[in-house]
Subunit: 353 residues, 2 copies
């Protein structure tokens, strides 16, 4: 008689990149190798304990105001959430309600198809070309929505803003989401399109460039209409998602722009150094504008290198599926010291030592 199980939603859970518990070099989840701004630390230790007994500000006004000012928009152009996963999922739910399929690349962030399935949104993936680039003309037909990361992941390839303007202009019938999780590492933002088109939403995260993956902050910039729809949808079923401490930590990060830019420059320069080293060792890769490099070796298999690195305490990311990327490694950019050790160990592995 115990048949409650027939009504359960049975799914296969996602397996996040490993978080090793021992001391290792962790280049597998695109985390920033530098800590967040010291101002973030100060904001956290200055929290008034008594303030925590109260619900947080559901409107997240302090953080929204800081972001609006930072990007030169009005507060009504900003939406915040618990990491960009939360912002993206909420955007799918709010904007993708057509019977036509939504479009996104076949090799891209792995949660787009998950959210589409979850919310029963029809979708069609568009294959990247031979060099892992997005083929713009594939998106040239009426659809229920479009979502593209720029730079794309795990390839790291960025497109110029004109590329996205063409797409947005061609699709007044739907919302176009540009997922800029990695944009701060040196590519063009599509944020200016928000000033010209009311159907474009730019999504950002504090997890990578702001070194705050542990805090869970994401946000979206869009037309006031878009943000109003998104907020209404969010508030219709969960008012309190951003906690009091996170809101204050987020504001503090925005306030320390010189630290932010200094650490971005450091990551970018380490990335460029790493590219040179990898090339010398016989690796090829698309030109990454993100904080990772998606590389394959001319002769040694990715799965083998992955296992060898792991034995030596260095974690990179390896995707066995799909087939087309199964000979690639996604290598997050660490500190100069970490990347030096990584390159040294790679040399040994390639020599068979």
């Amino acid at each position: 008689m115990a048949n409650w199980k027939s009504n359960v939603r049975e799914v296969v859970p996602y397996t996040p990149g490993e978080q090793p518990k021992t001391k290792v070099i962790k280049l597998n989840t695109n985390e920033n190798p530098y800590p967040p701004s010291p101002l973030v630390g100060k904001a956290i230790s200055n929290i008034e304990l008594d303030s925590l007994r109260k619900y947080p500000d559901p409107g997240c006004q302090s953080l929204i105001s800081a972001l609006a000012k930072y990007h030169g928009f009005d507060e009504e152009n900003v939406f915040v959430g618990v990491g960009s996963d939360d912002v993206l999922a909420m955007s799918f739910l709010t904007f993708f309600n057509s019977e036509k399929p939504i479009f996104f690349p076949d090799i891209t962030y792995s949660f787009y198809d998950v959210w589409a399935s979850l919310f029963r949104i029809p979708f069609e993936t568009k294959a990247l070309d031979e060099e892992f680039k997005i083929i713009k003309s594939d998106y040239d037909m009426p659809c229920g929505g479009i979502v593209i990361p720029n730079p794309n992941a795990p390839t790291g390839i960025a497109e110029p803003v004109s590329f996205f303007e063409d797409i947005v202009k061609a699709h007044p019938e739907c919302v176009v989401i540009i997922d800029e999780a990695y944009v701060d590492f040196g590519s063009e933002s599509a944020m200016d399109l928000v000033r010209k088109y009311d159907n474009v939403l730019v999504v950002r995260t504090f997890s990578k460039s702001r070194a705050m993956a542990g805090n869970r902050i994401g946000y979206a910039i869009g037309s006031k209409q878009l943000i109003k729809y998104l907020s209404d949808c969010k508030f219709s079923f969960n008012s309190y998602t951003m906690d009091t401490i996170t809101l204050q930590a987020g504001v503090a990060s925005i306030e320390d722009d010189s630290y932010f830019k200094e650490k971005l420059d450091a990551v970018i320069s380490t990335r460029e150094w790493t590219k040179v080293q990898l090339k010398k060792l016989g690796f090829t890769f698309p030109d990454s504008k993100s904080n990772f490099i998606f590389a394959k070796h001319e002769s040694m298999e990715a799965s083998f290198i992955f296992e060898e690195l792991k034995k030596r305490g260095i974690y990179v990311r390896y995707f066995s599926k799909p087939q087309r990327i199964s000979n690639y490694l996604r290598i997050s950019i660490g500190t100069d010291e970490e990347m030096q050790v990584f390159i040294d160990e790679l040399k040994m592995i390639l020599k068979g030592v």
Copy 2:
């Protein structure tokens, strides 16, 4: 041509209880009048800044382990989320997939019907009796699931565990969720039923009894099967929702049990004092086992008292709908001093001063 709006999910957002910005007596959102344990403050200021650059532990192991130990269950019996709203919404999504309707009281927590609509779950509400009590026999028919808060909100009425055991026993065909947001304030928990029945889920929050509404922590205790389904569903679309600081703050709260019990006793004793005062002033109310009292006056209208209190800087909650409760006020329990001021002001209002 700009017809993207036709695909938008248009909804009416929830209006949370007001968070007044000036100094007032806030008895409108069932917050705890005392701060969280000092250990929570210590845990927050001890956060290592560098740890925040990394993703949080998606398994939330530290908090799950502390909760399992505290309640005498295994870790596999515990699920945690961003407030009990998150836990409840995820439970609806995971367990309520029948074509038969789910049941819950007609006067109850206002988000049940919202999540049911969001996830397209058919539902049927069961009217409370004349004294606002749940009529057990109304739930005596096969259904897609049941969710009942105990104590119920906004009435504050609690039922004994035997009441819920009868319901659970009668429904092997579905999952029964008991929402114990207010249980710590003096009613029987149904947690022991989890040891006997694999289809019962008990949901709790840190927002009320643990004075941590600002942190957003909720959890569920259920059979290992139930928790596995719930975790799989959660991990299938969002791995990182609980942030690093919140996890540590939650553990610290659990560790300070003497503080927790001391403050619970204080709230309960203030509630009992308030009941006596309200009765003297001509109010009637169901016997509340929560941290609020749901009261109406013998002659003066609730909406009038609500507005008068507000003018005097005292916020209580007033629901104009449904009609049946539109002459009631929901009064959260504050400190002794706050409740004394509240009672004094009420006396003046009733005298027309």
